[in-house]
Amino acid sequence: MPTSSAIDRIRVVSPSDHPAGEQGRAPDAPSPPAFDGQPRPVNAATALSVTGLRKTYPGPTGATTVLRGIDFAVQSGEAVAIVGANGSGKSTALRCALRLIEPSAGDVVLDGRSIIGLSGKRLRAARARVGFVFQRHNLSTRLTVLSNVLHGALARGGGMRNWSHAFARPEERARALHCLDQVGLADLAGRRADRLSGGQSQRVAIARALMQDPAMLFADEPAASLDPKAGEDVMELFARLRSESGITLVFVSHNLDHALAYADRLIGLKSGRIVLDRSSSGIHPNDLAGLYETAEARP
């Protein structure tokens, strides 16, 4: 059971903790321009800014609030881990940040442009800037590895030829192979995706995300369904990609060792609120025990 001193070490975050321009905008500030599908302006260190994000699910016995107005910002090139107990809202926050789940309130700014209110082509253009790696690899298992990686080019308007590697342009095939090479699986390009191990599948999913040429990578518990060795390999891969390309990384993890080892900063969620937001250096896993303390366990 966590001690009160461990809980005390978890810093409760308020919006005033963040310097202006990092944390997002004040509620009355003008909205940033919407994503228009054009090349992003040279900017701004803030890659992702989330302000007042709320998510409430209506239900027959009353509404369930999963996110209670969270604020955080991620700088370009930064690696941020979102940690917290089951049901704390980690995955919901990540999905709301890309509007895979529609937020009930709040704002999400990607690359300096708000994605709230976007629809159709503009929303797709905004999403194309972010590679998303899921807990389950979410590959089309009946297709080949190379076809799956090529699907990453669909985000860039690659067209129907990228539905299958058989029809893809030579340069796209070569690029997909290069992405596979980056994750160490170039020799499995022709294999069907359902013939891969869990770790290999997750690396193919990362290659598919790289095919998008993303400005940022989101990963929702990317190692949770893998054995410890494969999970470590996947996290090492993220670390290597970061060091090679400086890509921004936001990942959700239950593994505090991964969060501390592979993130520059930790955001701790508890009951839909951010209760911790600080640099990972100097944090000990025991310091985070309070995140996992249930309400019933409290005296």
Partner: protein, 272 residues
């Protein structure tokens, strides 16, 4: 509730309740009434046995005097079924996308498409054949049209259900990367729904072959017309040969269907 109550074993049987009991009694009563109206008569069955024996004896040996015309009619029947089923399957794919709850662009489109598919399925193929014979005249074209409509009614529903049951994960991954709806259908939904689509498609081919035999009875072309003529002329030996040919055709299609199913679903990656 005390601890001992909470830990006691549940009863082996639980009362079904008033409404299920009433429904069960109503079902039994309706079935008994249906039995009386179905015209089942054991004496008539027994009285008919000698006639059955006579017809069966006249069927042996099957006549071979019109073998080639019959073979040609069987071939026409199969070709009618093949064309009807394949065109029906191809047309069913976009219709199924509109009729799948998770893919349809609007609830009204979903409801409208589902209603259309249900209508095509619930009207019997024989009724469609009569409609098309009256519209385009006697012959295989009317039968083929009837089979196309019947296949859409069947495949439209089962394709849509396969698409609804497909693993949503790959589709979610494509949504997250900003892919278009058509990309998601082609790259995530169709591959995931392949087993269901393959099963429904092959079954619809088998169904079309069986249907195409019957459609000839109303003038929609194929071997059915030959069978009707043979029975009306009391040429049971010719009828026996036609039945044998139909049996071989249906068996061959079923065997091919089973082989293709295994090859497509369990084999290596289909060549694209």
């Amino acid at each position: 509730m005390s601890t001992s109550d909470a830990r006691s074993l549940p009863p082996r049987w639980s009362s079904p309740g008033l409404v299920p009991s009433i429904l069960f009694v109503l079902f039994v009563a309706f079935f008994a009434w249906s039995l009386s109206r179905a015209g089942i008569s054991i004496p008539d069955l027994i009285a008919g046995i000698p006639a059955m024996g006579t017809i069966a004896s006249e069927m042996v040996p099957p006549a071979t005097d019109r073998f080639m015309p019959m073979l040609n009619a069987v071939l026409t029947t199969f070709q009618m079924a093949l064309v009807g089923a394949v065109i029906g399957i191809v047309l069913s794919l976009p219709i199924a996308v509109l009729a799948a709850r998770n893919l349809s662009p609007h609830p009204l489109v979903y409801s409208g498409t589902r209603a259309l598919v249900s209508f095509m399925r619930t009207v019997p193929d024989l009724a469609w054949a009569l409609f098309f014979v009256a519209s385009v005249g006697l012959g295989p074209f009317a039968g083929t049209l009837a089979l196309i409509v019947d296949t859409i009614g069947f495949c439209g529903r089962f394709f849509a259900e396969s698409m609804e049951e497909a693993d949503p994960g790959p589709g979610e991954a494509l949504v997250a990367m900003g892919a278009r709806r058509i990309d998601i259908v082609a790259c995530a939904v169709l591959p995931a729904a392949t087993p269901g689509l393959t099963n429904a498609g092959l079954f619809s081919l088998e169904k079309a072959v069986r249907s195409s035999v019957v459609l000839g009875l109303v003038g929609a072309g194929g071997i059915g017309a030959e069978l009707a003529v043979s029975m009306e002329m009391f040429r049971y030996d010719q009828a026996a040969m036609i039945v044998l040919m139909i049996f071989v055709l249906v068996l061959a299609v079923e065997r091919f269907s089973a082989w293709a199913r295994a090859k497509l679903l369990d084999g290596t990656a289909p060549k694209l």
